[in-house]
């Protein structure tokens, strides 16, 4: 069901873990869907442009979620923020040689995580935020809200 490239990234995920003292961290996803993701960014400057100097991730999710996280960080690494903003779900799936239909949301999630990290950074730095990025931020927020609802309903440590 998974391409070899997916399995390869799943077995040996790139850029996994945390950045110590990152410039910014994003959190997306919700446990009801079984996928959650953190993106850690360090942003540098080159030729007067902000670019992604380092990026790492942590993911709770299926093989596909881990593989898309991995390939997303690989795609983003070294790109300017504006370039990285344009990495979309389809690019990630394509890079992996395709994903099963029901797993497409995983690549959406990791695009989400990347965009949210860029949003957070731009906001923190008072940079201009495009309408599109604003929209993407709203989506990312939505997934998180759901998480809080869920936690209140159940509470993990009861059992």
């Amino acid at each position: 069901m998974y391409t070899e490239k997916v399995m390869e990234h799943f077995k040996n995920p790139r850029n996994m873990g945390e950045i110590e003292d990152p410039d910014v961290t994003s959190k997306v996803g919700n446990p009801a869907c079984g996928d959650m993701m953190n993106i850690y960014l360090r942003v540098g400057e080159k030729n007067n442009e902000k670019y992604i100097e380092d990026i790492k991730f942590k993911t709770f999710g299926c093989a596909s979620a881990i593989a898309t996280s991995s390939v997303t960080t690989e795609l983003a690494m070294g790109k300017t923020l504006d370039e990285a903003e344009e990495i979309e779900e389809e690019d990630i799936a394509e890079e992996l040689g395709g994903l099963p239909k029901i797993k497409m949301h995983c690549s959406n999630l990791s695009a989400n995580g990347l965009h949210e990290a860029i949003y957070q950074y731009k906001k923190k730095e008072g940079m201009e935020i495009s309408e599109d990025l604003e929209r993407k931020h709203k989506i990312a927020q939505k997934t998180l809200e759901k998480t809080e609802e869920m936690r209140q309903e159940h509470g993990l440590n009861e059992d």
């Binding site: 077995k11 959190k27 996803g29 446990p31 959650m36 942590k58 709770f60 999710g61 299926c62 881990i66």
Partner: protein, 395 residues
């Protein structure tokens, strides 16, 4: 697993079991020169008929019922659909209410769901955090127009065993409903004597008990009347039409004979116990799903908090170990398993769950190997998880 020519460790016996080589040997002639149609008058056909009836006798012996109370079907799915829809349509003038539970196999739930579309009314009973339903709940829900109660004997995901005998007795005392039980997971591991259980109908299939995939049976007490699901040539006394799957019926018969001889309860329970002890000694933050004991022998279901089930299954796969995730992540909806959801332990637990099910061909060495691989991969996946030990996201 050395009895089979594979070098993997197969610990997913609740999904399907290998075919016992003894079962295969019994089947082979019927894929060769004994190919007759049991409905034919001639010698070739009569030979096949004889084989079918002998196998029926063996299934009946395992269930302690009459041979004519066994209807061969193509699967537990068909047996369950047959029992449920067959009752619904046969008794629709008496009532249209059916009671079942939230942790039944999908084939029970979906059959009931379809009946709802046809105007029937279904009560889905809740279960507690270990998967037990309450006897009082059933009593309360029984109505004048209840025609069927269908409750599974042992849950295939979390191993919970319901007190079928007690439930059946209460249902019969307080109502006219038939009592059906899905006991697909039970033969060879639990008491499947339908007289002891006191049920009207019971579902089993071969591929959970070292027989082939694609053959099942429905026990139906001789006074129980339901509509057929497959209408046609009148095979199985008109209860289930279609040319009999002679090779598989023969294999099923043999599998029942073997299951009766080799009750594996104790051995499987020991494996489960060692497995749980070793895992809990070596891995932190493990939640056991379902009761600790008694439970379906050989079945273990546990959540490694922070580690998603599918990821863990695939990591173990690289070690040559076959296990299952409890979450239905590969099904159409991206939801946790309906069973774990009914246990209401929260989505973090549900999505972290792993089902390990040992069987006839596993050894204690397999247990050790699975624990070893689990420790390594849980550690590794936890190092990249976005969920902390409390099920919270990140940092």
């Amino acid at each position: 697993m050395k009895i089979l020519d594979v070098d993997r460790i197969y610990a997913d016996n609740n999904a399907t079991t290998p075919v016992d080589p003894k079962v295969k040997m019994e089947m082979l002639p019927y894929l060769e020169d004994r190919f007759g149609n049991p409905n034919s008058l001639h010698t070739t056909g009569r030979e096949a008929r004889k084989a079918v009836e002998e196998a029926r006798q063996k299934v009946a012996e395992m269930l302690n019922c009459k041979a004519k109370e066994i209807i061969f079907t193509s699967s537990a799915t068909e047996s369950n659909n047959h029992a449920i829809k067959g009752t619904a349509f046969a008794r629709k003038n008496e009532g249209k209410h059916i009671i079942t539970s939230k942790i039944e196999h999908k084939c029970v739930l979906e059959a009931c769901g379809w009946l709802e579309e046809q105007g029937f009314e279904i009560t889905y009973l809740d279960v507690d955090k270990e998967g037990y339903l309450s006897v009082e709940d059933i009593e309360e829900e029984l109505r004048e127009d209840t025609v069927l109660v269908s409750i599974m004997m042992a849950n295939n995901e979390v191993g919970t065993i319901q007190p079928i005998n007690k439930l059946a007795r209460i249902v019969h005392e307080k109502s006219n409903a038939y009592f059906h039980t899905d006991m697909a997971q039970c033969p060879g591991k639990m008491d499947v004597d339908v007289e002891n259980l006191g049920v009207d109908m019971a579902t089993i299939n071969a591929h959970k008990m070292y027989g082939p995939k694609g053959i099942g049976a429905l026990y139906k007490g001789q006074d129980v009347e339901i509509d057929p699901l497959l209408h046609g040539g009148g095979q199985e006394e008109g209860e289930r039409s279609g040319t009999e799957n002679v090779p598989y019926i023969v294999g099923f018969g043999k599998a029942c004979e073997l299951a009766q001889k080799n009750q594996e309860k104790d051995r499987l329970e020991k494996m489960h116990q060692k497995f749980v002890e070793d895992v809990c000694a070596r891995i932190e933050k493990v939640v056991i799903n379902g009761p600790l004991s008694p439970r379906l022998p050989g079945n273990t279901n546990m959540s490694f908090i922070g580690v998603e089930g599918e990821a863990l299954v695939l990591r173990l796969d690289n070690h040559g170990i076959d296990v299952a995730t409890g979450s239905a992540c590969s099904s159409d909806e991206l939801k946790a398993s309906h069973v774990l959801e009914a246990l209401d332990k929260g989505p973090e637990v549900a999505h972290s769950s792993l089902r390990i099910s040992f069987g006839r061909f596993n050894t204690m060495d397999d247990v050790d190997a699975v624990v070893e691989a689990l420790e390594k991969e849980v550690d590794d996946l936890r190092s990249i998880t976005a969920m902390d030990e409390k099920g919270k996201i990140g940092d």
